[in-house]
Symmetry: C2
Subunit: 681 residues, 2 copies
């Protein structure tokens, strides 16, 4: 393996470090390295038993790691960013996960100063450990349908938290199962017999000393999952538990203890911003999530030889499977996607930061953060924030789908060995998969995008001047409704991007016709909406990749032959996507049948060929350390078989067991060598 | 949940039992029930800890189950079929898996009478327990590249089995890791310095009493996998191990111990038949593999309510998510696919049996079974057997891909709860996944199909009379090359099938042009071949589903309104597939843009609506017992939430552990209740 990877690296002159700096900046790379060195030197982060251990052991280790990480943070005085980098490098969910994120964020953003003093400071010190308990057994996407109640009791100025049905049980709550002693509980606020919708309450659930559940609290872990088994997702039922007035997080609304009235105050648009931020993070991460799989599969397919080429002279060596076009067509567009998603995520983050600045200047929106499919008319189309929100929904759905499904493509490209845990792809895929469901189910989010696009299209039809990119592509499309278009998709990059805009606009106006002119039921349009959202998001990715190529950072960051490789990746991503969605492009008139067929049979194949020699260096540029990948197949030195063998033969606890194989003997395990038992607890 | 499922069942009059009999026959259903009753009454088959246990415990239980199953077979005098039914009902791979299948089959088919007496009778009695050791660390698909050698030693009339490199280590071998004491080892036969390619050798690897590896044998389990963890897939290295002459399975070739010459004898076409049989079995099973996921998701989506319909009056109840068209478009075409695959598998099995009869009459082929991409010119196009072989390759690839990817679609359709192991889909999916890789990697098999289609097309071009369905659709296409076609895909079923044939033929001649006229390299055509194989296999599925509808069994098996539902399923499967592959159908001229767009926006949506009321009864007809599904979400009584809660709260061993949550304490588990430790071993 080693020589093959060395030869691959010799064959290309893509400057790995330079490219890595373009992706991440020098500063970020150095920070990562510093943190990585600390982690590697701590025994508890040793990964060698990760793939073998059962759930209980893995959870135990994860808890030990979470504690260690917290202590290292204090010891090394790590910033929040450094702490997050460390978690990413460890690459497994841990029992403090929801405490560190949603619990602290919610206390900070939705608590008053008094509440921050009461809860946040203790939480920051891990004197209390919390989670974010929104989803219930019966309700996830539809937050407004939550059944847990918090009833204001004017007599003693308390709230009673109660789970009236089994389906009201909180469910899926990260860090709740075994770890947390506090929870932010979303519950229907009831004041004076009237319901005011879901509100957040800070509720203690376990004793701070004994860690036993408090009275009338039924809490536990929800059991094993497809992945994410180092996390204790939990359930939580309340039997009329009283909590004091301070429990209701009151920055945006409160119950006045004097008048017993419900009072709104301030603007909750910050929460809405948080949702957008969380989704943007998912977009940002999708590229590197996928890049792990692509790195592993590319390196392995470069060292894996299987069969002689059919047209080769007999006696020649077997081909590297990466040379088969059928392997290339699976991996190289995904390699291109890692860059496309990365640049898209970066641009989303920039937009988000800009919009936050603007919002701080003039805060107007007054809508509380709602997940899932809310009403159609909430946001105005002429608003950058609304655009950002809709874009983040669509891109969250598209990018996490690409990453999740792409990882499985990578795994399968590795043939049989991809199925071994030592490939490192399967476990990573399994842990990532819920990203397609949480923070807005990927199918449902598309309704929000469609709603926004319909709204924008209506504003364009009304003749409003374009106020953002979406309304601007829609008006361009409208303005050419009697002229049509002629995009040179293969010859011109700009035209290629425009073809994506055209198709998305076409689908938008089609959907609008169905809804407004033909009065079709919303439910009958969901499939169209899904396609529309995908089209718009694909346009965004292609546009962002293109802009990144045009940016001064890129132009000055790499030499011209590297630029050409990036440019090839851009074209591969765009043309391969276009070809996959051929019938929509064709139906919209964005290009001709002939162009699509040329793209498919000619251009894409040539781009594969052009990128192929640089594949290994391109994945090297993602800079994954072997320790992070924890993969036999993806080793940077190509010693795949040696590593597979070592792990199977030396580390595998099952090999300490001698069985009795005969059906007429009731003995199962005849002999169990010591070390197994040790490794079990 | 119960009322909702009851209401679903009340709403349709699909006769569940009748339909089930049509799918399986009364006799098979009764046999299944009889076996199931036996299994349910045995404590060892209790599934309640399956989802919780770690690998070692699961393997231990699987071994106990394998033994019990064998003993039950003897006790109840079960036929091979009944034994297989029992394994299917248990639904987990077990340590006798490869002994029961490939080991026994190979001894039987490739051994001489003397060898059968020596090995097979002991194997049948489980006095020796074996496996099938073909794949190596370095070679899977390319069997001819295997590196293990078996060198004939004329002096003492023995073979020396040797693994010259680390990559020669056998790998992935089911039942080998801990259980087997014998292996059929595929090794390069070397006689007199000359290599004769891979041949099967029966080799003892562990002591029959102590079960310790024999001298110079290094054997063990290869470690954890994405699924299949109840099976001990193993590795195996030989350091010059001597085995006697009888070890080489000699039905089709042998080394003459007198002359020391290599001798071929008899016709190995039987082995080639076995490969086809194994692949046909995979096609046959794909329908029911997928049906488990579809059953679970359909039932759950029928009881899951989330959101009010956007166009509904306020105050009305939340919708069943199965009513959302975006859920229907994911699940109902898969429901249709379960029937499509089932009927296709049945027809493949019938063809296989017919061909075996014919072959026994006149055996001519003399080609040994080769997996993976072999030479282009091996088989004649005018041969039912060759057609069956190619069809089985293409359908194996298509059907296992549909089943595997469909299961993930089902899982995701269940939202968050789909991610819990209690959904029953994830674990099932993970165990099924290798089917896309073994018995011919799904991507590579498409080369064999393409090779066969090219060959057939050449014979048509030469003017040979059509000798089977493939050559017949190709000549029809040719004969209309200057006339084109006009298929009424939405109005006529026959035309719909013909449109699939047309597109497959079009792609065949396109590929032929590339290869024969333009002289393109084989490697440059792999992507085209993949598409071609898919197109041809989709045609086969559509055709077989259509034929099944026309058959007297179907016509007489169900009443006319049930027939209409099956007919709707057929059209949904065909039109949805056509719409997904729209640009190929359009490019081939098989139908117009307008037809495709009508199919997509109109016909498919109407079919969803027509099938929706029958969805629950249709999955009921698959007849999965709750015990078999082992799924909270898929319970036949709809008590989803109760069951989720029970498993999490009562069965989950993690809840016996009380942690110390604070980072400043080194204690991890403060208290572990007894039962956990017990459940751990
Ligand atoms: C590993 C994991 C960790 C989690 N951690 C947390 C946590 O810490 N805290 C927390 O509060 N929650 C958590 N969750 C819950 C998560 O947020 C929800 O599972 C998610 O929001 C999806 O909601 P659901 O499960 O109710 O899906 P459902 O809404 O029930 O979806 C079921 C199906 O119906 C479809 N559907 C539903 N409504 C519509 C509609 N209107 N139109 C069309 N289709 C529709 C969906 O697409 C899906 O196919 C976690 C979940 C997982 C899997
Ligand atoms: C769970 C499991 C159980 C198994 N049990 C057994 C067993 O009991 N006994 C046994 O002998 N084996 C067993 N196997 C091995 C199995 O048969 C092989 O893994 C399978 O044949 C694939 O071969 P490979 O792993 O060498 O893939 P490779 O051939 O190395 O494939 C790697 C990649 O290269 C591509 N590729 C390879 N060649 C070409 C080509 N010519 N053209 C285009 N693309 C190409 C493939 O599509 C794939 O993407 C098992 C495997 C698994 C996962």
């Amino acid at each position: 393996g080693s020589e093959l990877l060395a030869a691959e690296r010799a064959k290309s002159n893509v400057p790995v470090e330079k490219l890595q700096e373009l992706l991440f900046t020098k500063q970020v790379i150095e920070r990562k390295k510093k943190v990585l060195d600390v982690l590697k030197s701590e025994k508890i982060f040793d990964k060698s038993q990760n793939y073998f251990a059962g759930r209980t052991d893995r959870f135990e280790t994860a808890l030990a790691r979470a504690k260690k990480l917290r202590n290292l943070r204090v010891e090394h005085n790590w910033s929040l960013d450094e702490y997050r980098v460390a978690s990413e490098l460890i690459s497994e969910p841990g029992p403090y996960g929801l405490h560190d994120s949603m619990f602290l964020i919610t206390l900070n953003e939705q608590g008053t100063q008094e509440q921050r003093d009461e809860f946040l400071s203790k939480a920051n010190d891990y004197k209390i450990i919390g989670c974010y308990a929104q989803t219930e057994l019966g309700h996830g996407s539809n937050v407004r349908g939550l059944e847990t109640t918090a009833t204001w009791n004017p007599e003693d100025k308390t709230f009673v938290i109660h789970s009236p049905y089994l389906t009201a049980s909180k469910w899926w709550i990260g860090s709740l199962g075994r770890t947390a002693n506090y929870a932010v509980v979303m519950a229907q606020l009831v004041v004076n017999g009237k319901s005011y919708g879901p509100h957040p309450f800070v509720v203690q659930i376990r004793d701070l000393r004994s860690h036993e559940p408090l009275e009338n609290v039924h809490v536990g872990d929800i059991g094993p999952k497809f992945g994410y088994n180092t996390m204790d997702n939990g359930f939580l039922l309340f039997n009329k538990v009283k909590v004091p007035h301070i429990s209701m997080l009151a920055r945006f609304s409160r119950v006045d203890p004097e008048t017993n009235e419900y009072v709104r105050q301030g603007s909750p648009s910050l929460i809405y911003g948080t949702l957008t931020w969380v989704r943007s993070t998912i977009v940002m991460q999708a590229g590197s999530v996928l890049a792990r799989g692509v790195t592993i599969a590319t390196r392995y397919c470069a060292i894996r030889r299987q069969f002689q080429d059919r047209d080769a002279a007999s006696g020649s060596a077997e081909s590297q499977v990466l040379d088969y076009t059928m392997v290339q067509i699976r991996l190289l567009p995904l390699l291109a996607a890692t860059f496309a998603l990365h640049f898209t995520g970066k641009s989303m983050m920039n937009l988000y930061q800009e919009s936050q600045k603007k919002m701080n200047a003039s805060s107007t929106s007054s809508d509380s953060g709602n997940r899932g499919a809310g009403p159609e008319e909430t946001r105005s189309g002429s608003d950058i924030l609304a655009d950002l929100h809709a874009t983040s929904c669509g891109l969250k759905a598209l990018s996490s789908t690409i990453a999740a499904e792409g990882l499985e493509v990578c795994r399968r490209a590795c043939g049989g060995h991809g199925y071994s845990s030592f490939s490192g792809i399967g476990p990573w895929y399994a842990d990532y998969l819920p990203t397609t469901t949480w923070e807005g189910d990927n199918y449902m989010l598309t309704q929000q995008v469609a709603r926004y696009l319909l709204k924008s299209a209506r504003s364009v039809l009304k003749g409003d001047a374009p106020s953002n990119d979406t309304t601007s592509i829609l008006s361009t499309f409208r303005s050419r409704s009697e002229i049509g278009c002629a995009f040179d998709i293969i010859g011109s990059d700009g035209d290629l991007v425009s073809a994506f805009a055209w198709r998305a606009s076409f689908l938008t106006f089609e959907a609008l016709k169905h809804r407004d002119e033909q009065g079709k039921a919303w439910n009958d349009l969901l499939v169209d909406f899904y396609r529309l959202s995908k089209a718009h998001s694909q346009y965004m990715v292609v546009k962002n990749f293109y802009s990144a190529l045009q940016s001064p950072e890129t132009r000055s960051g790499v030499d011209s032959s590297t630029f050409d490789v990036l440019h090839d990746l851009f074209r591969l991503y765009a043309l391969h996507t276009l070809e996959q969605e051929g019938s929509e492009f064709y139906a919209s008139g964005a290009c001709s049948k002939h162009q699509i067929s040329l793209a498919r049979t000619n251009t894409v194949m040539k781009l594969l060929q052009a990128i192929r020699p640089h594949a290994v260096r391109l994945v090297d540029a993602w800079g994954f350390d072997d320790w992070v990948l924890d993969s036999s197949l993806g080793r940077i030195d190509g010693k795949v078989y040696e590593d597979m063998f070592y792990r199977a033969s030396e580390l595998n606890p099952l090999n300490k067991i001698t069985v009795d194989p005969y059906p007429d003997s009731e003995v199962l395990f005849r002999k169990v060598e010591d070390s197994v038992v040790k490794s079990k607890l």
